[in-house]
């Protein structure tokens, strides 16, 4: 499954069940471009086990403010709607797998 783009309208519904890894990013952020291919890979490798999603903080100002995003990329893992872990800055694939496992 491809990476899902979240908006304020579908965010709460998508994160409410199972494991959802959300990448808060922006088009002008270099490190965000680095992890984009990793997110794509994870969405294939973890198809059916975890949802891999992105929030464009320039478009989704409310979500960025709700999660107090102060550095991008910020990666937040939700398990059944609850935050289970956070990471700041570009992270290795290994670390992201740890977050969703």
């Amino acid at each position: 499954m491809a990476v899902i783009h979240l908006t304020k309208d579908n965010f709460d519904e998508v994160i409410s069940k199972g494991t959802v890894l959300v990448d808060f990013w922006a088009a002008w952020c270099g490190p965000c471009q680095m992890i984009a291919p990793i997110m794509e890979e994870l969405s294939d490798e973890y198809d059916g086990k975890a949802v891999i999603a992105k929030v464009d903080i320039d478009r989704e100002v409310e979500l960025a403010s709700r999660f107090k995003i102060r550095l991008i990329p910020t990666i937040i893992c939700f398990k059944d709607g609850e935050i289970s872990s956070k990471a700041y800055g570009a992270e290795s694939k290994e670390h992201m797998i740890e977050m969703i496992s």
Partner: protein
């Protein structure tokens, strides 16, 4: 995609680049402007064999033009992020990035200490990159700690996009707050703020590469410049004293040999 990315255009980085190029590898070198380096500012160097009395600027320029003549691509900017992936390593500098199969770290003397609260609040109000994170602080109070040559420009950028910026060049700093930056203490004076941009010449190596092992405030390396992370090598002042050109040149070459061997073993 390059075979090898080198960080640093000093004696270690350029020596590594030259050796790797001669061995047929493609090389990209990323560095702050050479004119800001300690080497460039050295008035004269008397103990580098064969070039008595050479000025730092002359040696620096000679090194860079040598690497360029062999085909090195040289990019200027502050390295902000290094991200090892499955079979490559991303290097982010300024707003750009390059990708390589191996990395040789040769940025010169590195700082590994940090202000109280700095590491704990990184990503929660502390940032090293105005151009990366400035937009998230529009309309907010931010402190720019200006400790690098281009820091004033970065602080200016923060103002221009609408941050309420105050600057300092003090090194008596403490940063604090509950889960996020709430205040900064400068010379014992506390002031509330939402963000702190720590603008140094370089980001500490173990922040750039989480998990990179240090030893006595330098990068821990084996005899051939290998670090504890596969595919990442280090050379020159960042690995320890003596901070000498001849030592850096030798280590740069060893690191390049090790990186070439690493690459050939991957195939």
């Amino acid at each position: 995609m390059y075979d090898i990315a080198v960080i640093g255009t000093g004696p270690a980085g350029i020596s590594a680049a030259i050796t790797a190029l001669v061995r047929g590898k493609s090389v990209a070198v990323v560095s702050n402007p050479a004119s800001e380096s300690g080497l460039y500012k050295a008035e004269r160097i008397d103990n580098y064999p064969g070039m008595p009395g050479v000025t730092g600027a002359e040696l620096s320029e000679a090194l860079i033009s040598h690497a360029r003549s062999l085909g090195a691509e040289i990019f200027t900017g502050k390295v902000q992020t290094i991200l090892p992936n499955d079979d490559s390593i991303f290097v982010g500098y300024g707003m750009e990035m390059i990708e390589a199969r191996a990395l040789i770290f040769a940025p010169g003397v590195v700082r590994t200490s940090s202000f109280p609260g700095e590491r704990e609040l990184l990503g929660r109000g502390v940032s090293y990159c105005a151009t990366c994170d400035g937009m998230l602080y529009r309309g907010k109070e931010v402190c720019a700690i200006c400790l690098a040559a281009d820091a004033a420009e970065e602080a200016e950028y923060l103002s221009s996009i609408g941050c309420n910026v105050f600057t300092t060049d003090s090194k008596k700093i403490a940063i604090g707050g509950e889960n996020r930056v709430e205040w900064i203490e400068i010379e014992g004076q506390r002031r509330s703020c939402d963000g702190v941009f720590v603008l140094r010449d370089s980001v500490a190596p173990d922040v750039l590469v989480p998990g990179l092992e240090l030893e006595n405030n330098h990068i821990r390396t084996g005899a051939s410049g290998e670090t504890n992370i596969p595919g990442i090598f280090a050379a020159g002042d960042c690995t320890g004293t003596p901070y000498q050109v001849a030592k850096a040149v030798g280590e740069g070459q060893l690191a390049a040999f090790a990186a070439v061997k690493y690459l050939d073993a991957q195939k």
